[in-house]
Symmetry: C2
Subunit: 278 residues, 2 copies
């Protein structure tokens, strides 16, 4: 039988493709991958189940460790679907699962969908001209990694834009709950554009202190994006400083783009329509 | 009223999203953008019209010049849809149309879909680790540009993969038909992976003659992709030389990836499942 990997797109139940929906309705079992909170993507299990008219099994952190085993075992006798927010080969690759399926002799079919990696084209920047994508993690007092800086810097040196995916923390446990082994989780947290901008400015200061000429400064104009593809999508073109201090992008999910040093006139013209201060 | 830009995904009529299909059925007029032959993407107008139960107006080269005017004029009074293969902000940006809509006071809504830019993740290479995308044009005897070489080279220097989109020529006119002003077009032609590989090897030879150490050689392993997302999708991992001389990827559309010099072990493991010579 077949293991289907089906992309759900950007967070509206109706963003699934017609083909994807048909397959979901035919599969014997339907799993929804939820490494990160699906609520961040605007999806609720009940809403999905009503739309699909099918039971949807949430593969959250507790289940995920054994998910591949379960899927591959079941797919020997049944058609099984794994639903994935975005595209199955988008921000999270499912290479491991596909490899294991191949070696178990389970056929895998993929139903692609849009991922944030190409949806950000809506701001006007050419997807052609993006360099390596980076992930910005949520800093704590004692853990402030900045390895993404070098990638942003290299992209800018080559005139390329950088898409920054912002951290999501779900199913965190308080120290007390962790010690006591209680499966009680803190509410999900997500890195906002403003927080990411503050971190980027902080890195800037550190580089300057080290005598390094930074790849950008606090007046560098960036593109903040929130809830891309949703009805209340928000895009703001502003300086890093404005983003860190004044601009509120609202509810999650947020993404951030550091454009290359030269933007094409046509890119710029569309960006300017999203300008914070016109 | 609203001008909808609706992505059709990778070439199966059912690759439209549920939301996209709903909108198409509601719009007063439905246009299909066909700068390039939609047949290359496996779509036929009649098939689309049957699926949508709507008339679909083909915006081919003759219409395209005035398309924006038509769409914006009509969208003042009607809901109008422009269907686009892939994602509306994928390989071709619709920035110009969006800009003109904004200045005419026409509301634009976008229904995203997968584009080849993220669908290629199915070969196992991390989309994160791609650099700038390049377009490889079809060489003629007297016109053999190679500016994409520098971009591939820069990407490889930074350990990044390069997606090469391959040229499509549609609605070419013979010199005779052009002179006589006859709108008779040659059959569409598309650059194959093998032809692109031959061009890349030719560039290699030129660079060597100039004393430049090339960024890759004919034994560099590349990823050839054909008909991504279709039932007969084909992926082959082989050397540039094998691709130029032995490997036949079949019907269009083809894409080519030049991986970075180091591939992650997990990437490599999945690539190896597509190996030409196992």
């Amino acid at each position: 039988m077949v293991l289907y990997l089906i992309g759900l797109g950007l967070g509206n139940v109706e963003d699934i493709t017609v083909r994807g929906l048909k397959i979901v309705k035919q599969c014997a079992k339907v799993y929804l991958e939820a490494y990160t909170s699906i609520l961040c993507y605007g999806l609720e299990t009940k809403q999905l189940e009503e739309f699909y008219e099918r039971e949807v099994i949430i593969a959250d952190r507790d289940l995920v460790e054994n998910l591949a085993d379960t899927l591959l075992e079941e797919a020997k006798d049944l058609d099984v679907a794994l639903l994935v927010v975005g595209d199955p080969f988008g921000a999270t690759t499912h290479a491991d699962l596909v490899l294991r399926a191949k070696s178990s002799g389970v056929e895998v079919k993929v139903v692609h969908n849009v991922s944030i990696l190409n949806a950000v084209g809506c701001c006007g920047l050419q997807l052609y001209s993006f360099g390596e994508t980076v992930s910005i993690v949520m800093w704590t007092e004692n853990w402030q990694p900045d390895s993404f800086y070098d990638k942003i810097s290299a992209n800018r040196q080559h005139g390329l834009h950088t898409l920054c995916l912002l951290d999501i923390k779900t199913k965190e446990q308080s120290v007390e709950n962790l010690i006591k082994g209680r499966k009680i989780y803190e509410p999900p947290r997500y890195l906002t554009c403003s927080e990411a901008a503050s971190q980027l400015i902080k890195i800037l200061e550190r580089k300057s202190e080290m005598g390094i000429i930074p790849a950008y400064d606090e007046n560098t104009k960036v593109v903040a994006l929130a809830r891309v593809g949703w009805d209340d999508q928000k895009i703001v073109y502003c300086t890093l400083k404005e983003l860190s201090t004044e601009v509120d992008m609202g509810p999650p999910l947020h993404s951030l783009i550091i454009p290359g040093p030269q933007t094409h006139p046509m890119e710029l013209e569309l960006l300017e329509t999203f300008a914070y201060k016109k």
